[in-house]
């Protein structure tokens, strides 16, 4: 594959995109997991699906949309979905998790309507659902790189605010942080990262890259910065192992990346057990 990467542009695209999302997905994932919002990633990924489906349908039926990268509309839907979740969470103050199934089923519902309108599944859609090594275009790569730069700078700039808000929201508010605005920025970042990651891991498995590496990191890390570091390390390992095996075995990378993440997770759990037993 190393040789092939220098030969084929599509492999370069897939590999570079993989390396990028291997950083940003676990990075945001660390905040998502500690805030107990793991399922929000799932809800938003399904909203992204409806955006992709809408784009695929419109590109068939409306000339204006022909040639538009579906990622744009997926991203737009995802961001709108994140705003809806925020709104719903304030409406159902005591049942905040209710926002997740509402948005999730809404996303799938709209997605299914557009898929049927566009005359069912095609290979394009399949690659969006489960990820693809061959479908990542240069366009996609640039867009994802843009998202990564925005997300990385925001997390670095707002790190201490995001940390405090994740650890203890009430204390954050009491010390005068603009909690609502920060939360909104965070949700929009999550939506963007989901749209970016979808090309490689696929809509159905996007959330795994945000949660599994973090779950593994939490077993062995000391402190939050270390958790982020190990999450990204595990995320990258899973992406690289997953892409290689997907390429050689001709499999959808979504599946191989998730299986690699789970293997890493098991390894981390075993390592922790061994450490405890040795003490």
């Amino acid at each position: 594959m190393i040789q092939a990467i220098f030969q084929y542009e599509f492999l370069q695209n897939a590999f570079l995109t993989g390396l990028i999302i291997g950083v940003i997905a676990p990075l945001l994932g660390a905040f998502i997991v500690v805030r107990r919002l793991s399922l929000i990633a799932d809800a938003l990924s399904h909203v992204t699906l409806s955006g992709i489906a809408a784009s695929l349908f419109l590109s068939k039926s409306v000339v204006m949309f022909n040639g538009l990268n579906p990622l744009w509309m997926g991203m737009t839907f995802s961001v709108i979905g994140s705003l809806f979740i925020e709104r719903l969470r304030t409406v159902y103050k005591h049942y905040q998790e209710l926002a997740i199934p509402i948005i999730l089923s809404g996303g799938i519902g709209i997605g299914v309507i557009f898929i049927s309108l566009a005359d069912g599944f095609n290979t394009d859609l399949f690659s969006y659902l489960f990820g693809s090594v061959s479908a990542v275009s240069r366009d996609d790569l640039w867009l994802i790189l843009g998202i990564a730069i925005v997300v990385l700078s925001l997390v670095i700039i707002l790190y201490k605010e995001l940390f405090l808000l994740s650890f203890d929201e009430e204390f954050g508010k009491a010390s005068g942080l603009p909690a609502k605005a920060l939360h909104l920025i965070f949700m929009v970042m999550v939506a963007l990262v989901i749209a970016a990651s979808m090309r490689i891991v696929g809509i159905l498995l996007v959330s795994s890259l945000m949660t599994l590496p973090v779950a593994a990191a939490m077993r062995i890390a000391r402190g939050f910065k270390q958790t982020i570091f190990f999450s990204i390390l595990f995320g990258e390992l899973a992406v690289i192992a997953g892409l290689f095996s997907a390429f050689y075995l001709d499999l959808a990378p979504g599946g191989t990346i998730v299986v690699s993440s789970i293997l890493l997770l098991l390894l981390a759990i075993a390592l922790k057990k061994w450490q405890v037993m040795r003490k």
């Binding site: 201490k160 203890d168 204390f171 009491a174 010390s175 000391r222 939050f224």
Partner: protein, 291 residues
């Protein structure tokens, strides 16, 4: 058995209040006149969540250097009162003055340290070290677009030492005992060097043998570091010999001035109704933490 004790405790409360309400020996308005040395002032504050008022006509002035204990049974509005002071809730009526500024204009929130009741039941699995948690207390003070860098390290370590947790600096917060966690949260609250520290039921979840050390530490903060303390608790017995001022809250506030004044009222009443065993019973109860 436990609930029986709860009932006794509640009755004790009711009786203390009845005396205070009926006789009203200490007019609180007297203290309001010394406004210049007061860090926090509440004037005629009312608050209701839905229909019933949780707080009515609250007048409170906290002088600099005081150690004020606010005691009251469950549902008396203790946490609501604190949330109003901290700006988490807006009073329906009345005025809140912080450091001689109207609350709406107040921006120096780092001057007010806060240790919430929830800290006792926080997300224990959170992967953060003691150092990271304490450093997060500097978030507001450091300001947007700035990082809490190495420059701040001495300040953070000082706060950790002030609560004697320096040997646990790199431990994850979830690995500590309830009492140790509470110390860390106090360090987080004092790291920004606030003028006042507000504690909401800080000894819940701290085992009884560590409660004394905990109060010793508060005493140190109050007397040596000059931090004004406000401690809210249902545990009347343990705090009266620690604090300098006492206020009773049961939807309205009854201020007792100095602790000595309060002791007089309390002892008379308690012994009259429940005999000599009340104090002990109360202590046992408090340490079980069953309220």
């Amino acid at each position: 058995m436990v609930s029986g004790k709860s009932n006794v405790l509640l009755s004790v409360w009711k009786c203390v209040y009845s005396v205070v309400v009926k006789s009203e020996p200490f007019l609180f308005e007297r203290d309001v006149s010394m406004a210049s040395s007061n860090i926090i002032e509440l004037k005629n504050v009312n608050y209701r969540y839905d229909r019933d008022f949780v707080l009515t006509n609250i007048n409170l002035a906290i002088p600099q250097g005081a150690f004020l204990g606010i005691v009251g049974p469950n549902g008396s509005g203790k946490s609501t009162l604190l949330k109003i002071i901290l700006g988490l809730l807006k009073p329906r009526e009345g005025k809140v003055v912080l450091f001689d500024q109207a609350q709406a204009k107040f921006r120096e929130w780092e001057r007010i340290g806060y240790v919430s009741q929830k800290a006792n039941a926080f997300n224990t699995g959170f992967p953060a070290t003691v150092y990271e948690v304490v450093a997060s207390g500097l978030t507001k003070k450091t300001g947007l677009f700035h990082m809490i860098g190495k420059k701040r390290r001495p300040q953070i370590e000082k706060a950790i030492k002030a609560v004697s947790m320096e040997n646990f600096m790199d431990r994850n917060i979830g690995e500590l005992s309830g009492g140790q966690q509470q110390r860390v949260f106090i360090a987080r609250a004092i790291v920004s060097e606030p003028d006042i520290l507000i504690l909401d039921e800080p000894t819940v979840g701290v085992d009884s043998k560590n409660v004394q050390t905990f109060y010793d530490m508060l005493d140190h903060l109050n007397k040596k570091l000059g931090i004004t303390l406000v401690l809210v608790t249902h545990d009347i017995g343990t705090i009266t010999n620690k604090v300098t001022h006492v206020a009773c809250l049961n939807n309205t506030l009854h201020f007792h001035g100095s602790t000595a004044d309060f002791e007089q009222v309390k002892d008379q009443e308690l012994s009259q109704f429940y005999g000599h065993d009340v104090q002990r019973l109360h202590h046992d109860h408090a340490h079980e933490g069953s309220l």
